[in-house]
Symmetry: C2
Protein backbone atom coordinates (compact mmCIF):
# COMPACT_ATOMS: atom_id res chain seq x y z
CA UNK A 1 0.00 0.00 0.00
CA UNK A 2 1.05 3.59 -0.50
CA UNK A 3 2.12 5.65 2.46
CA UNK A 4 0.04 8.62 3.51
CA UNK A 5 1.19 11.94 4.89
CA UNK A 6 -1.63 13.83 6.54
CA UNK A 7 -1.22 17.54 7.26
CA UNK A 8 -3.62 18.59 9.97
CA UNK A 9 -4.43 16.69 13.14
CA UNK A 10 -7.94 17.98 13.73
CA UNK A 11 -11.13 15.97 13.51
CA UNK A 12 -10.83 15.23 9.78
CA UNK A 13 -7.06 14.67 9.82
CA UNK A 14 -7.34 12.19 12.68
CA UNK A 15 -10.25 10.36 11.05
CA UNK A 16 -8.44 10.05 7.71
CA UNK A 17 -5.34 8.82 9.56
CA UNK A 18 -7.45 6.13 11.26
CA UNK A 19 -8.95 5.11 7.93
CA UNK A 20 -5.57 4.98 6.18
CA UNK A 21 -4.08 2.84 8.95
CA UNK A 22 -7.07 0.51 8.82
CA UNK A 23 -6.48 0.31 5.08
CA UNK A 24 -2.91 -0.87 5.62
CA UNK A 25 -1.08 2.36 4.76
CA UNK A 26 1.75 3.76 6.82
CA UNK A 27 0.77 7.20 8.09
CA UNK A 28 2.88 10.28 8.80
CA UNK A 29 0.84 12.85 10.68
CA UNK A 30 1.97 16.46 10.54
CA UNK A 31 0.35 19.10 12.71
CA UNK A 32 -0.74 22.18 10.77
CA UNK A 33 2.04 24.66 11.50
CA UNK A 34 4.68 22.01 12.18
CA UNK A 35 7.66 21.97 9.87
CA UNK A 36 8.71 18.71 8.26
CA UNK A 37 11.49 18.40 5.69
CA UNK A 38 10.44 15.13 4.10
CA UNK A 39 7.00 13.75 3.46
CA UNK A 40 7.20 9.98 3.60
CA UNK A 41 3.79 9.47 1.98
CA UNK A 42 3.19 9.28 -1.75
CA UNK A 43 -0.32 10.50 -0.96
CA UNK A 44 -0.45 13.78 0.96
CA UNK A 45 -3.80 14.78 2.44
CA UNK A 46 -4.22 18.47 3.21
CA UNK A 47 -6.61 18.14 6.16
CA UNK A 48 -6.77 21.87 6.80
CA UNK A 49 -9.56 24.42 6.35
CA UNK A 50 -10.01 26.02 2.93
CA UNK A 51 -8.67 29.29 4.31
CA UNK A 52 -5.31 27.63 5.05
CA UNK A 53 -4.81 25.88 1.70
CA UNK A 54 -2.89 28.72 0.06
CA UNK A 55 -0.44 29.06 2.92
CA UNK A 56 0.12 25.30 3.22
CA UNK A 57 0.62 24.92 -0.53
CA UNK A 58 3.14 27.75 -0.56
CA UNK A 59 5.06 26.53 2.49
CA UNK A 60 5.31 22.92 1.32
CA UNK A 61 5.46 23.41 -2.45
CA UNK A 62 8.83 21.63 -2.70
CA UNK A 63 7.80 18.65 -0.60
CA UNK A 64 4.51 18.34 -2.52
CA UNK A 65 6.11 18.22 -5.98
CA UNK A 66 5.53 14.80 -7.51
CA UNK A 67 3.05 13.78 -4.83
CA UNK A 68 -0.62 12.91 -5.00
CA UNK A 69 -2.18 15.81 -3.08
CA UNK A 70 -5.69 15.44 -1.69
CA UNK A 71 -7.89 18.49 -1.12
CA UNK A 72 -10.69 17.74 1.34
CA UNK A 73 -12.08 21.23 1.84
CA UNK A 74 -15.58 22.64 1.73
CA UNK A 75 -15.16 26.35 1.04
CA UNK A 76 -17.80 27.77 3.32
CA UNK A 77 -17.97 31.14 5.00
CA UNK A 78 -19.38 29.93 8.31
CA UNK A 79 -19.76 33.45 9.69
CA UNK A 80 -21.96 34.37 6.73
CA UNK A 81 -23.50 30.92 6.47
CA UNK A 82 -22.86 30.55 2.76
CA UNK A 83 -20.52 29.04 0.20
CA UNK A 84 -17.54 30.99 -0.96
CA UNK A 85 -17.56 31.93 -4.63
CA UNK A 86 -14.45 30.51 -6.26
CA UNK A 87 -13.54 31.78 -9.70
CA UNK A 88 -11.70 28.60 -10.67
CA UNK A 89 -14.93 26.65 -10.07
CA UNK A 90 -13.71 24.71 -7.03
CA UNK A 91 -11.13 24.83 -4.27
CA UNK A 92 -9.45 21.82 -5.90
CA UNK A 93 -9.13 23.55 -9.26
CA UNK A 94 -7.64 26.55 -7.47
CA UNK A 95 -5.13 24.27 -5.75
CA UNK A 96 -3.91 22.79 -9.04
CA UNK A 97 -2.76 26.23 -10.14
CA UNK A 98 -0.82 26.57 -6.88
CA UNK A 99 0.73 23.10 -7.14
CA UNK A 100 1.44 22.53 -10.84
CA UNK A 101 3.90 19.73 -10.05
CA UNK A 102 1.46 17.72 -7.93
CA UNK A 103 -1.40 15.45 -8.96
CA UNK A 104 -4.37 16.96 -7.15
CA UNK A 105 -7.41 14.94 -6.08
CA UNK A 106 -10.64 16.04 -4.45
CA UNK A 107 -11.85 13.57 -1.83
CA UNK A 108 -13.37 13.18 1.64
CA UNK A 109 -15.26 16.50 1.48
CA UNK A 110 -18.58 14.63 1.29
CA UNK A 111 -17.69 12.32 4.21
CA UNK A 112 -18.14 13.31 7.84
CA UNK A 113 -15.16 12.59 10.11
CA UNK A 114 -17.05 10.11 12.31
CA UNK A 115 -17.90 7.94 9.30
CA UNK A 116 -14.27 7.77 8.18
CA UNK A 117 -13.09 6.93 11.69
CA UNK A 118 -15.65 4.14 12.14
CA UNK A 119 -15.94 3.05 8.50
CA UNK A 120 -19.73 3.22 8.71
CA UNK A 121 -22.65 5.51 8.13
CA UNK A 122 -25.05 5.11 11.02
CA UNK A 123 -28.22 6.71 12.33
CA UNK A 124 -30.29 6.07 15.42
CA UNK A 125 -32.73 3.29 14.78
CA UNK A 126 -31.77 2.87 11.14
CA UNK A 127 -29.41 0.42 9.51
CA UNK A 128 -25.90 1.24 8.52
CA UNK A 129 -23.98 1.45 5.28
CA UNK A 130 -20.25 1.59 4.55
CA UNK A 131 -18.64 5.01 4.84
CA UNK A 132 -18.64 6.53 1.36
CA UNK A 133 -15.72 8.44 -0.15
CA UNK A 134 -16.21 10.25 -3.45
CA UNK A 135 -12.99 11.01 -5.36
CA UNK A 136 -12.38 13.25 -8.37
CA UNK A 137 -9.12 13.73 -10.24
CA UNK A 138 -7.48 13.80 -13.63
CA UNK A 139 -4.87 11.11 -12.95
CA UNK A 140 -6.14 7.52 -12.84
CA UNK A 141 -3.09 6.17 -10.98
CA UNK A 142 -3.41 8.87 -8.35
CA UNK A 143 -7.06 7.99 -7.81
CA UNK A 144 -6.18 4.30 -7.51
CA UNK A 145 -3.52 5.06 -4.91
CA UNK A 146 -6.21 6.64 -2.75
CA UNK A 147 -9.14 4.38 -3.59
CA UNK A 148 -7.17 1.17 -2.91
CA UNK A 149 -6.56 2.26 0.68
CA UNK A 150 -10.16 3.49 1.12
CA UNK A 151 -11.53 0.15 -0.07
CA UNK A 152 -9.04 -1.84 2.02
CA UNK A 153 -10.31 0.11 5.03
CA UNK A 154 -13.82 -1.21 4.37
CA UNK A 155 -15.26 2.03 3.02
CA UNK A 156 -17.02 2.47 -0.31
CA UNK A 157 -14.71 4.45 -2.60
CA UNK A 158 -16.18 5.92 -5.75
CA UNK A 159 -14.34 7.51 -8.66
CA UNK A 160 -16.66 10.32 -9.78
CA UNK A 161 -14.55 11.39 -12.75
CA UNK A 162 -12.24 14.24 -13.65
CA UNK A 163 -11.14 16.97 -11.26
CA UNK A 164 -13.73 19.24 -12.90
CA UNK A 165 -16.30 17.26 -10.88
CA UNK A 166 -14.83 18.82 -7.72
CA UNK A 167 -17.27 21.63 -8.40
CA UNK A 168 -20.19 19.24 -7.89
CA UNK A 169 -18.48 17.48 -4.98
CA UNK A 170 -18.12 20.81 -3.19
CA UNK A 171 -21.80 21.58 -3.81
CA UNK A 172 -22.81 18.15 -2.49
CA UNK A 173 -20.51 18.61 0.50
CA UNK A 174 -22.10 21.94 1.29
CA UNK A 175 -25.59 20.45 0.96
CA UNK A 176 -24.69 17.70 3.42
CA UNK A 177 -23.05 20.19 5.78
CA UNK A 178 -26.15 22.39 5.78
CA UNK A 179 -28.33 19.35 6.54
CA UNK A 180 -26.14 18.38 9.49
CA UNK A 181 -26.00 21.94 10.80
CA UNK A 182 -29.81 22.01 10.58
CA UNK A 183 -29.96 18.68 12.44
CA UNK A 184 -31.71 16.95 9.55
CA UNK A 185 -28.81 14.49 9.27
CA UNK A 186 -26.54 13.24 12.09
CA UNK A 187 -22.77 13.75 11.96
CA UNK A 188 -22.48 9.94 11.87
CA UNK A 189 -24.54 9.72 8.67
CA UNK A 190 -24.80 11.49 5.34
CA UNK A 191 -24.81 10.70 1.66
CA UNK A 192 -24.12 7.28 0.27
CA UNK A 193 -24.65 5.75 -3.15
CA UNK A 194 -26.64 2.63 -3.90
CA UNK A 195 -24.91 1.01 -6.88
CA UNK B 1 -53.96 14.23 0.36
CA UNK B 2 -53.36 16.98 -2.15
CA UNK B 3 -54.05 16.38 -5.80
CA UNK B 4 -51.19 16.36 -8.26
CA UNK B 5 -51.15 17.63 -11.81
CA UNK B 6 -48.17 16.31 -13.74
CA UNK B 7 -47.18 17.97 -17.00
CA UNK B 8 -45.14 15.58 -19.09
CA UNK B 9 -45.79 11.87 -19.59
CA UNK B 10 -42.24 10.73 -20.25
CA UNK B 11 -40.16 8.52 -18.01
CA UNK B 12 -40.00 10.98 -15.11
CA UNK B 13 -43.62 12.16 -15.45
CA UNK B 14 -44.90 8.59 -15.42
CA UNK B 15 -42.73 7.63 -12.47
CA UNK B 16 -43.82 10.64 -10.41
CA UNK B 17 -47.47 9.85 -11.29
CA UNK B 18 -46.97 6.29 -10.01
CA UNK B 19 -45.39 7.58 -6.82
CA UNK B 20 -48.15 10.15 -6.23
CA UNK B 21 -50.88 7.55 -6.73
CA UNK B 22 -49.11 5.18 -4.36
CA UNK B 23 -49.01 8.07 -1.90
CA UNK B 24 -52.78 8.46 -2.08
CA UNK B 25 -52.95 11.58 -4.24
CA UNK B 26 -55.31 11.98 -7.17
CA UNK B 27 -53.30 12.53 -10.33
CA UNK B 28 -54.07 14.53 -13.45
CA UNK B 29 -51.57 13.74 -16.19
CA UNK B 30 -51.10 16.26 -18.96
CA UNK B 31 -48.99 15.45 -22.00
CA UNK B 32 -46.41 18.11 -22.80
CA UNK B 33 -48.04 20.04 -25.63
CA UNK B 34 -51.60 19.17 -24.63
CA UNK B 35 -53.85 22.07 -23.65
CA UNK B 36 -55.79 21.90 -20.41
CA UNK B 37 -57.91 24.73 -19.04
CA UNK B 38 -57.99 23.70 -15.41
CA UNK B 39 -55.34 22.01 -13.31
CA UNK B 40 -57.08 19.94 -10.68
CA UNK B 41 -53.91 19.47 -8.59
CA UNK B 42 -52.73 21.87 -5.94
CA UNK B 43 -49.26 20.54 -6.67
CA UNK B 44 -48.18 20.85 -10.29
CA UNK B 45 -45.06 18.97 -11.35
CA UNK B 46 -43.34 20.23 -14.49
CA UNK B 47 -41.91 16.93 -15.70
CA UNK B 48 -40.38 18.42 -18.83
CA UNK B 49 -36.77 19.03 -19.88
CA UNK B 50 -35.06 22.22 -18.76
CA UNK B 51 -35.21 23.53 -22.32
CA UNK B 52 -39.03 23.44 -22.21
CA UNK B 53 -39.53 25.15 -18.85
CA UNK B 54 -39.80 28.69 -20.23
CA UNK B 55 -42.41 27.75 -22.80
CA UNK B 56 -44.49 25.70 -20.34
CA UNK B 57 -44.37 28.45 -17.72
CA UNK B 58 -45.49 31.04 -20.26
CA UNK B 59 -48.27 28.91 -21.71
CA UNK B 60 -49.74 27.91 -18.34
CA UNK B 61 -48.93 31.00 -16.28
CA UNK B 62 -52.63 31.58 -15.44
CA UNK B 63 -53.31 27.98 -14.43
CA UNK B 64 -50.11 27.91 -12.33
CA UNK B 65 -50.95 31.02 -10.30
CA UNK B 66 -51.51 30.06 -6.67
CA UNK B 67 -50.20 26.53 -7.19
CA UNK B 68 -47.23 24.69 -5.75
CA UNK B 69 -45.04 24.24 -8.84
CA UNK B 70 -42.31 21.61 -8.81
CA UNK B 71 -39.23 21.97 -10.99
CA UNK B 72 -37.49 18.61 -11.50
CA UNK B 73 -34.93 19.58 -14.13
CA UNK B 74 -31.21 19.03 -14.43
CA UNK B 75 -29.97 21.73 -16.79
CA UNK B 76 -27.47 19.76 -18.82
CA UNK B 77 -26.29 20.30 -22.34
CA UNK B 78 -26.14 16.63 -23.33
CA UNK B 79 -24.66 17.38 -26.75
CA UNK B 80 -21.76 19.19 -25.10
CA UNK B 81 -21.72 16.88 -22.08
CA UNK B 82 -21.70 19.66 -19.50
CA UNK B 83 -23.92 21.65 -17.17
CA UNK B 84 -25.58 24.77 -18.43
CA UNK B 85 -24.48 27.97 -16.72
CA UNK B 86 -27.53 29.64 -15.21
CA UNK B 87 -27.16 33.24 -14.10
CA UNK B 88 -29.92 32.96 -11.49
CA UNK B 89 -27.94 30.16 -9.82
CA UNK B 90 -30.38 27.36 -10.61
CA UNK B 91 -33.17 26.42 -12.98
CA UNK B 92 -35.57 26.65 -10.04
CA UNK B 93 -34.51 30.20 -9.19
CA UNK B 94 -34.98 31.13 -12.84
CA UNK B 95 -38.47 29.62 -12.76
CA UNK B 96 -39.53 31.72 -9.77
CA UNK B 97 -38.95 34.87 -11.80
CA UNK B 98 -41.19 33.44 -14.54
CA UNK B 99 -43.92 32.37 -12.10
CA UNK B 100 -44.07 35.06 -9.42
CA UNK B 101 -47.56 33.95 -8.35
CA UNK B 102 -46.60 30.32 -7.78
CA UNK B 103 -44.76 28.68 -4.90
CA UNK B 104 -41.83 26.97 -6.62
CA UNK B 105 -40.14 23.87 -5.25
CA UNK B 106 -37.13 21.96 -6.50
CA UNK B 107 -37.54 18.20 -6.15
CA UNK B 108 -37.00 14.84 -7.83
CA UNK B 109 -33.92 16.00 -9.81
CA UNK B 110 -31.67 13.77 -7.66
CA UNK B 111 -33.97 10.74 -8.03
CA UNK B 112 -33.86 8.42 -11.04
CA UNK B 113 -37.26 7.55 -12.54
CA UNK B 114 -36.99 3.83 -11.78
CA UNK B 115 -36.52 4.52 -8.07
CA UNK B 116 -39.62 6.71 -7.90
CA UNK B 117 -41.68 4.14 -9.79
CA UNK B 118 -40.61 1.27 -7.54
CA UNK B 119 -40.10 3.23 -4.32
CA UNK B 120 -36.69 1.64 -3.85
CA UNK B 121 -33.03 2.14 -4.60
CA UNK B 122 -31.59 -1.18 -5.71
CA UNK B 123 -28.37 -2.53 -7.15
CA UNK B 124 -27.35 -6.00 -8.26
CA UNK B 125 -26.19 -8.01 -5.33
CA UNK B 126 -26.50 -5.15 -2.86
CA UNK B 127 -29.26 -4.35 -0.45
CA UNK B 128 -31.91 -1.77 -1.09
CA UNK B 129 -32.92 1.52 0.49
CA UNK B 130 -36.07 3.61 0.13
CA UNK B 131 -36.19 5.92 -2.87
CA UNK B 132 -34.90 9.29 -1.75
CA UNK B 133 -36.46 12.62 -2.73
CA UNK B 134 -34.66 15.84 -1.82
CA UNK B 135 -36.87 18.94 -1.75
CA UNK B 136 -35.93 22.63 -1.58
CA UNK B 137 -38.30 25.58 -1.34
CA UNK B 138 -39.09 28.78 0.51
CA UNK B 139 -42.63 27.86 1.53
CA UNK B 140 -42.97 25.31 4.34
CA UNK B 141 -46.61 24.44 3.55
CA UNK B 142 -45.75 23.84 -0.09
CA UNK B 143 -42.93 21.51 0.92
CA UNK B 144 -45.24 19.62 3.26
CA UNK B 145 -47.83 19.19 0.51
CA UNK B 146 -45.19 17.39 -1.55
CA UNK B 147 -43.32 15.59 1.23
CA UNK B 148 -46.51 14.15 2.77
CA UNK B 149 -47.30 12.34 -0.47
CA UNK B 150 -43.67 11.24 -0.98
CA UNK B 151 -43.56 9.75 2.51
CA UNK B 152 -47.00 8.13 2.14
CA UNK B 153 -45.64 6.46 -0.99
CA UNK B 154 -42.91 4.81 1.08
CA UNK B 155 -40.07 6.98 -0.15
CA UNK B 156 -37.67 8.96 2.02
CA UNK B 157 -38.51 12.65 1.61
CA UNK B 158 -35.98 15.19 2.85
CA UNK B 159 -36.43 18.92 3.22
CA UNK B 160 -33.01 20.35 2.32
CA UNK B 161 -33.92 23.96 3.06
CA UNK B 162 -34.65 27.12 1.11
CA UNK B 163 -34.98 27.28 -2.67
CA UNK B 164 -31.44 28.68 -2.78
CA UNK B 165 -30.33 25.08 -2.13
CA UNK B 166 -31.62 24.19 -5.62
CA UNK B 167 -28.17 25.23 -6.77
CA UNK B 168 -26.62 22.39 -4.78
CA UNK B 169 -29.42 19.97 -5.70
CA UNK B 170 -28.73 20.62 -9.38
CA UNK B 171 -25.01 20.01 -8.85
CA UNK B 172 -25.74 16.77 -6.99
CA UNK B 173 -28.21 15.75 -9.71
CA UNK B 174 -25.59 16.33 -12.37
CA UNK B 175 -23.00 14.37 -10.40
CA UNK B 176 -25.39 11.42 -10.15
CA UNK B 177 -26.30 11.70 -13.81
CA UNK B 178 -22.65 11.65 -14.83
CA UNK B 179 -22.06 8.55 -12.67
CA UNK B 180 -24.98 6.74 -14.30
CA UNK B 181 -23.92 7.76 -17.80
CA UNK B 182 -20.45 6.44 -16.97
CA UNK B 183 -22.00 3.18 -15.71
CA UNK B 184 -20.58 3.67 -12.21
CA UNK B 185 -24.12 3.70 -10.78
CA UNK B 186 -27.19 1.87 -12.12
CA UNK B 187 -30.34 3.77 -13.13
CA UNK B 188 -32.11 1.86 -10.33
CA UNK B 189 -29.74 3.27 -7.70
CA UNK B 190 -28.17 6.59 -6.78
CA UNK B 191 -27.75 8.86 -3.81
CA UNK B 192 -29.49 8.31 -0.53
CA UNK B 193 -28.97 9.77 2.92
CA UNK B 194 -28.30 7.83 6.09
CA UNK B 195 -29.92 9.84 8.87
Amino acid sequence: MNGFTIIGTGKMGSAIAALAERGGASVQSVAHGEHVDVFTGDVVVLAVPYEALGEVAARFSEQLAGKVVVDITNPVDLAEGRRREIKAGSAAAELTTRLPQSRVLKAFNTSFAATLASGELTADGAGSAPATVLVAGDDADAKSALLDVVEAAGAQGIDVGLLARARELEATGYLQLSLALGEAVPWTGGFTLVR
